[in-house]
Structure formats: structure tokens, C-alpha cells
């Protein structure tokens, strides 16, 4: 995988060149992350200008609690991060200026023409690395301070974290394998998960803390206390929904902008979104478990890690991710905004509605089952979850199914073409393998068989090989689409990769051949 694929790949000769997609990946990613900082600054300003809260009533008492220490640390670190980012931006400008000066260096005599490409390579390679380092440094400096509050919550509740890891891990594995055909690299999924745990949750917590500190000042009206309390709580839930979903969506956006080569459709979009949602859910669960008495933990675990695991947070950010994934193949900017905006609206609206309606439904949950506590917990909580976020869960499952079906059809065509494309194609994918590659169930059973026979090394090699073949076919399918862009990698490189992995024989090959000899 190359982060810096140079230039535009020449289009295949029998097709007019596709629309040029702007390669503003890193710049746009930094812009997205800057909006998080801007939102934080807005929260700070609103807090400074908020009127004082003068009511000691218990209903607004929670707005008067002092700043938690992690919040204070976050505030300091954010300012530090801004300074670091500014310095790195300056370094970036200097490096870029030096790099362009080096490549624009005048070439005098012809004798040095042969040496020139080498000199240019040397002159641009190191600055390019520095450029990359500066860019990622800026991203990190702007984003990492938000991780303080989740880290504090996770760190001070380690037993609870360990309790939730198996369930979240299993769900993450399920999300990974929900990509029935071509799968994105594991590190990308983990990056999304990590963002959800640290940054998504952190940004949400920071902004919610801000609102708790200024909300009542603006909106509590002593003349109409009841209405204004209703308004404050409505705005509180709305604020929570907006900041949580935008924090998560920012992660999806950054990963999409930086790794468009891998996020190539609604399936990968949903999967990345689901991973971010799972991370956020983990942080929120541990956060809540840390607040309540340990004797109340089982009920919270049931609510958040069993019933609601694939429901609330996962559903909302999966829909946001679907929007980003769909935007990959939309050449028109307006269409891209509609797709992404639709996903975000669904996420925010769903989160807001779930919060509000869940709390109201909860008040009457006891009556549904004649105050039978056991039934109310075992049936009532799932029923409430279905009522509030059922629609959104159904939506993301349907989109996933649709995307997978489209992938299967496209892959079938591409694999048949690849197998039939003569000696070079036949080397990568043989005819009999096509049916195997198109059947996820058969591949799974084969993987288990190979695991038993050749161990983990053999399994890993098989998986890598088949994923390389599927990647080759998927990119071939993508090349024929409307909206095909320059992020589709070079066909020959992918084919060579497959042949490399096949020609290795590797650990499974050397152990398979003796086995065959043994059989014969």
C-alpha cells in the first residue's frame, strides 16, 4: 500500500479518461480536524459569555459542578496542540518551498542530464517524508488532546474495560467479516475503532461538558421554569447527538480522505462507520460503568454491551459511513454532499430521537409488564431499543446487503474476465478458483480446514492470497465504473502481488506439496 501514489494513472486505452477527482486528501482531512477545534473554541466562547446561573434548584444543580480534572487537562493540551500544529505548518511551508526550489533548479550542461533524475529523486524523497511527517504531526497535534477524557475514563476503570473488551472485540470481528468479499486492511478498521474510542468519545465528552456549563445560563428562564427546563433538556440531548455524531463522522471523513484506495463503496463505508461506533460505545459504556455503583454494573452491561451493542451508536455511524462510501463513486460535488449529508442527518436525528424517546419510554416500561422487574429488563429494554433505533439498524443492514450484492455481481464479471484474459490473467486467477472466490461460505470452510492442517501461518497465507485475488478483481470492476478515479491502483501491480503470493508457495506450499506426494 502506498500513501503517496505519484501522478495520475494512465487510463486504459479503450475508455475515455475518467473525471479527475481532486487529490486534496490530506488538506481536507486537516480541515475536518480543524472544525473540531473550532467547535471547541465556540464552546469556550459561549461559556465565557454565558449569564451566571443563580438558581440552586436541584434540577439545575448538575450544571454547577466544578470542572473535572481531565477536562482541565484537555483544555490545556488543546492550546498546546494548536501551537504545535502552527509550528509544524510553518515547517511544512518551509519544506515545501525548499522542495520546489530543488526540483526547479536549473540544469545547465547536457552531461548532468543523466545525473539529474537521481539528484531530483534525492532532493524530493527526503522532503517528501518530512512533508508527510509534518502533515500527520499536524493531524495528531489537533486531535490527540481530545483523547484525554476517554483515556482518563478507561484508565480509572480498567476492570470494567476488560469486562467489555470481549464483547466489543467479538462485534468488531463480526463487522470485519461482514465484508464478505474484499476486505479493507485490518489496521484501517482498527484505526476507525481507535478513533471511536479516543477521539470521537473525547470530542463528544468535551463539548457536552461545555454545554453543561453554559446551557442553563442561556436558557433557564426563571419566569417560566418548567418550559425552560424542558427546553434546556431538549437542547442538551440535541447537543449531545450533534457533537457525538460529528465527532465520529470526523473520524470516518479523515479515514475516507486519507485512504480512499481502501474505502471504496457503501460496504466499506458501513464497516468503518460501525467500527467507529463500536469504539464510541466502548468508551461510553466504561464511562457510565465508572459512574454507577459496582452493584449496578450488570444491568448497564446488559443494556449497552448485549442488547444495544450493534444498535444505537453502531447504527448511527454506520449510516454516516454509508454516505461517505457512496460518495466515492459520485463525480458531481452536489451528489457527494447529498450522500454524506443524508448519512449525517440520519445519524444525528437517530441519536437525538433515541436519547429523548428512550428516556420517556423508560418511565412507563414498568407498566408494560405489570411491574415485573425481570420481564421489564429482559424484554422491555430490547423492546425499547427496537422502537427507538430499530429503523436505523434495519437501514444499515439493508444498505450493507445491497452493497454486498452489487459487489458479488461486479466481482463475478471481473473474475470471469480475469480468468479468461489469457496467460497473464490466468496466472493470477484460474477458472476453477472463480466459484470458490465468489462463495464466502466455501472460503470460510476452506480456511478452517487449512487452519487445522497447516496452522496459523498457512491460514494467514491463504487469506492473504485470496484477498489479493479479490482486490485485483474488485479494482478491475471499479475501473469500469462511472466516476472511476485516480485512487484505483495499477492493475499490473496488483496482479504481480497475487503472483508473488502464489509463487511463494511459502509455508503452506511447502507443506502442501509433501502432503500431496504423500497422498499419491
Amino acid at each position: 500500500m502506498t500513501l503517496t501514489a505519484p501522478g495520475v494513472f494512465p487510463p486504459p486505452p479503450d475508455r475515455p479518461p475518467g473525471p479527475r477527482v481532486p487529490r486534496h486528501g490530506m488538506a481536507s482531512a486537516i480541515a475536518v480536524v480543524l472544525t473540531l477545534s473550532v467547535a471547541y473554541a465556540v464552546g469556550q466562547i459561549l461559556y465565557w459569555t454565558a449569564p451566571d446561573i443563580v438558581s440552586p434548584s436541584p434540577w439545575v444543580k448538575i450544571w454547577l459542578l466544578p470542572e473535572p480534572t481531565p477536562f482541565k487537562v484537555t483544555r490545556v493540551l488543546l492550546v498546546v496542540g494548536w501551537c504545535v500544529a502552527t509550528l509544524l505548518a510553518l515547517a511544512l511551508l518551509l519544506t515545501r518551498r525548499r522542495a520546489t526550489a530543488a526540483t526547479a533548479a536549473p540544469t545547465g550542461d547536457t552531461g548532468s542530464e543523466q545525473a539529474e533524475p537521481m539528484a531530483r529523486f534525492d532532493a524530493t524523497a527526503r522532503p517528501r517524508l518530512t512533508l508527510r511527517a509534518c502533515q500527520f504531526g499536524i493531524l495528531g497535534a489537533l486531535v490527540l488532546p481530545f483523547a484525554v477524557m476517554p483515556l482518563a475514563a478507561l484508565g480509572s476503570n480498567l476492570p470494567q474495560l476488560l469486562l467489555c473488551l470481549p464483547t466489543t472485540g467479538a462485534a468488531l470481528f463480526l463487522v470485519h467479516r461482514a465484508q464478505l468479499y474484499r476486505r479493507m486492511p485490518g489496521w484501517l478498521l482498527l484505526a476507525g475503532f481507535g478513533w471511536g474510542v479516543l477521539i470521537g468519545g473525547g470530542f463528544g465528552l468535551v463539548m457536552i461538558t461545555w454545554f453543561q456549563r453554559y446551557g442553563a445560563g442561556y436558557f433557564l428562564d426563571f419566569q417560566r421554569p418548567r418550559d425552560s427546563i424542558r427546553e434546556i433538556y431538549t437542547l442538551f440531548c440535541l447537543n449531545g447527538a450533534v457533537v457525538a455524531e460529528f465527532g465520529k463522522a470526523a473520524g470516518i471523513a479523515v479515514l475516507f480522505l486519507l485512504f480512499r484506495r481502501h474505502i471504496d463503496g457503501v460496504v466499506s463505508g458501513v464497516v468503518v462507520g460501525a467500527a467507529v461506533g463500536l469504539g464510541h460505545n466502548l468508551t461510553e459504556t466504561v464511562h457510565y460503568l465508572g459512574f454507577v455503583n459496582p452493584e449496578h454494573h450488570p444491568a448497564q452491561f446488559w443494556d449497552r454491551q448485549v442488547v444495544g451493542l450493534m444498535a444505537a451508536h453502531v447504527a448511527f455511524s454506520a449510516l454516516a459511513g454509508a454516505g461517505f462510501g457512496a460518495a466515492r463513486w459520485l463525480p458531481e460535488r452536489r451528489d457527494r454532499w447529498v450522500a454524506v449529508g443524508g448519512g449525517l442527518l440520519a445519524a444525528v436525528g437517530g441519536h437525538f430521537e433515541t436519547d429523548v424517546v428512550l428516556m420517556r419510554l423508560d418511565q412507563s416500561r414498568g407498566e408494560w409488564f405489570s411491574h415485573n422487574e425481570t420481564l421489564s429488563l429482559l424484554l422491555g429494554i430490547p423492546l425499547m431499543t427496537v422502537i427507538t433505533s430499530g429503523v436505523f439498524v434495519a437501514l444499515y443492514v439493508l444498505i450493507l446487503r445491497r452493497g454486498l450484492r452489487a459487489q458479488a455481481a461486479g466481482l463475478a464479471r471481473a473474475l470471469h474476465a480475469e480468468a479468461a484474459s489469457g496467460p497473464s490473467g490466468g496466472a493470477a486467477v484460474t477458472g476453477p478458483e472463480v466459484a470458490l472466490l465468489l462463495s464466502p461460505a466455501r472460503r470460510l470452510l476452506l480456511e478452517m480446514r487449512v487452519w487445522r492442517r497447516d496452522g496459523t501461518a498457512g491460514l494467514r497465507h491463504l487469506v492473504r492470497f485470496q484477498q489479493a485475488q479479490l482486490d485485483l478483481a474488485t479494482q478491475r470492476w471499479h475501473r469500469e465504473r462511472v466516476g472511476a478515479d485516480s485512487f484505483i491502483p495499477d492493475e499490473q501491480q496488483l496482479r504481480e502481488k497475487v503472483i508473488d503470493l502464489k509463487g511463494l508457495g511459502g509455508t503452506s506450499g511447502t507443506s502442501e506439496v509433501p502432503a500431496r506426494k504423500g497422498l499419491s
Partner: protein, 118 residues
């Protein structure tokens, strides 16, 4: 027609939710409270049947793991012939490549191991 039906379903859901929610609320102070997703300060949790919750969580996960195991075992037993064929196919694919490069230096096999997938 389809849009109309969807609209009817949506409005029915909205009305049902509204009726459910806007009905008189019981002042049940010790009632077990459901989860909140707004990430704010913790809501009063109330007295939930914790033993039931713990047992149910464990039971659900045990059922899920068991179901997955059973499905895999069933699939394996049912399609054993297909898996055998697939295994032979994969063996053939790899051994073909090995015999193709058998003519080259043996060291290439070891070298290839270093070109791991990035």
C-alpha cells in the same frame, strides 16, 4: 402508492410513539432505569434485577457462541465433499506455482518470504 404506504406506516409509528410517551408517567422512583446515550452526567440507575441482568448477558453470549459453533460444525459436515475439492484446488494452485519456479534457484523461495504483504 409505495410512498403513500410508507407515509402511513411512518405516521402510524409516530402516533403510537406519541401515545406511548405522552401518557401519564408514573412517579416510580426506585424503578430500574434504561440506558441513556447522551454521555452526560449519569442518570439515576434505580434498583434493577442485577442477577438477572448478569445471567442474561452471559446466557446470550453463550447462546451466540454455541450457535456459531453449531452452524460451523453443521456446514462442515454437510459440505465436506466441496471442501475436499476446494482443498485440492488450492493445493494444485500453489504446487503449480512451486513446480513452475522449481527450475529457478532454491533460494528464491526463502527470499520470497521476506516480500511480505505490506
Amino acid at each position: 402508492m409505495k410512498h403513500g404506504f410508507r407515509l402511513v406506516r411512518l405516521s402510524a409509528l409516530a402516533v403510537a410513539t406519541a401515545l406511548l410517551v405522552l401518557g401519564p408517567s408514573a412517579p416510580a422512583s426506585a424503578q430500574c432505569a434504561g440506558p441513556t446515550y447522551h454521555g452526560g452526567l449519569p442518570v439515576r440507575v434505580g434498583a434493577c434485577p442485577e442477577g438477572v441482568a448478569g445471567g442474561a448477558s452471559g446466557a446470550v453470549w453463550a447462546v451466540v457462541v454455541l450457535a456459531a459453533g453449531l452452524w460451523i460444525a453443521y456446514a462442515r459436515s454437510r459440505s465436506r465433499a466441496t471442501t475436499d475439492t476446494d482443498l485440492e484446488l488450492i493445493d494444485a494452485v500453489f504446487s503449480e506455482a512451486v513446480t513452475e519456479t522449481a527450475g529457478d534457484a532454491h533460494g528464491e523461495g526463502e527470499e520470497g518470504l521476506r516480500h511480505a504483504w505490506p
